[in-house]
Amino acid sequence: MSVDRSIVKQAIFDAIPLWVPAIPFALIIGLAVVESGMNPLLGWASAWIIFGGAAQLTLIALLGSGTAVAAAVTAAIVVNARHLMYSAALAPKFQEQPKWFRWLGPYVLIDQLFAMAMLRLDDDPRTWRTYYLTAGGFFWVSWQVTIAVSLFVGPVVPSAWNLGFAISILFLGLVVMGIDTSPKLVAALAGAGFTFLFAGLPNRAGLLVGALVGVLAGTIVERVKSDD
């Protein structure tokens, strides 16, 4: 059993440029942990347990702002609903893999890795597994290190800078860059609008109303458009 070094090298080479945009996420998660008053160790552990920046940041930011735990957990889980599509898309390729890898692989299945793995579906099973595990491992280690660093940097930043606002800008960037069709735009506007309308609900539960209406609105607009 020898690992093909050229595959390992290629995986890391491909992963590095995709890793760079994730760095601000890691830094802001560190700040969010500090700002929310969460135990930094738990903040770091959450990066191991969840291994998904958007879900982790959603949970920490909402818990820190006094949102009901059930609403925060729900929002954090569904924010990554697209993972279901990744899972379905890669399932056939995973069928030819050993069991241990079918259980381990999904744990590191982030956006970047999905994009990389999809481009190499023609690889033989062993090459594909080496490539997947190398890139996944690279993302995982880099993520844990950057989060750890940000947990040390976070407390040093003066609170007067209000860096917590960067969380909102980061989420806005995610929304804007994810909108590529008009129904998605409608979903985003409805999500924001209805959360605003239901802002008075206790424990920020309006968030769930907004999310639900947003999904419905997007779906309806898509149906109406395809009927034309």
Binding site: P24, M38, N39, L42, S46, I50, F51, A55, T58, L59, L62, T67, V69, A72, A76, I77, V78, V79, N80, A81, R82, H83, L84, M85, Y86, S87, A88, L90, A91, P92, W103, P106, Y107, F165, I169, F171, L172, G173, V175, V176, M177, G178, P183, K184, A187, A188, L189, G191, T195, F196, A199, L201, P202, R204, G206, L207, G210, A211, G214, G218
Partner: protein, 110 residues
């Protein structure tokens, strides 16, 4: 304890979403209606989040001029450049500048 529980739940939920088809339903396909709804979850939840994070203790949306300016410019930069780092840097800079220009810390206007 509550926080640890919440983290574990989200960890489990996130893993389940990634693993579902790979481990158990490899031969199934997602029903078209579900697939259709799935693409709207991220934009709806994320934009709901942005608003939810601005809600203050009294249930009002606390969107001051600096926040609005930072979000507007940040959104425009995200749209034009599709670059997270640039979006963050420009958005926060605008937020700080506007805050420094119009907010008087003594008067606590902002």
């Amino acid at each position: 304890m509550t926080e640890l529980f919440a983290v574990l739940m989200v960890g489990l939920g996130t893993y389940a979403g990634r693993a579902l088809f790979i481990i158990t339903l490899a031969n199934r396909t997602i029903p078209p209606a579900v697939l259709q709804a799935l693409q709207y979850v991220a934009p709806a939840v994320l934009s709901a989040l942005i608003v939810a994070l601005l809600i203050d203790g009294e249930g009002n949306v606390a969107l001051g001029v600096p926040e609005a300016a930072g979000l507007a410019v940040g959104g425009a930069v995200a749209y034009k450049t599709r670059n997270h780092i640039l979006t963050l840097v420009v958005g926060m800079t605008v937020y700080w500048l506007v805050r420094a220009l119009i907010c008087d810390p003594q008067l606590r206007v902002c």
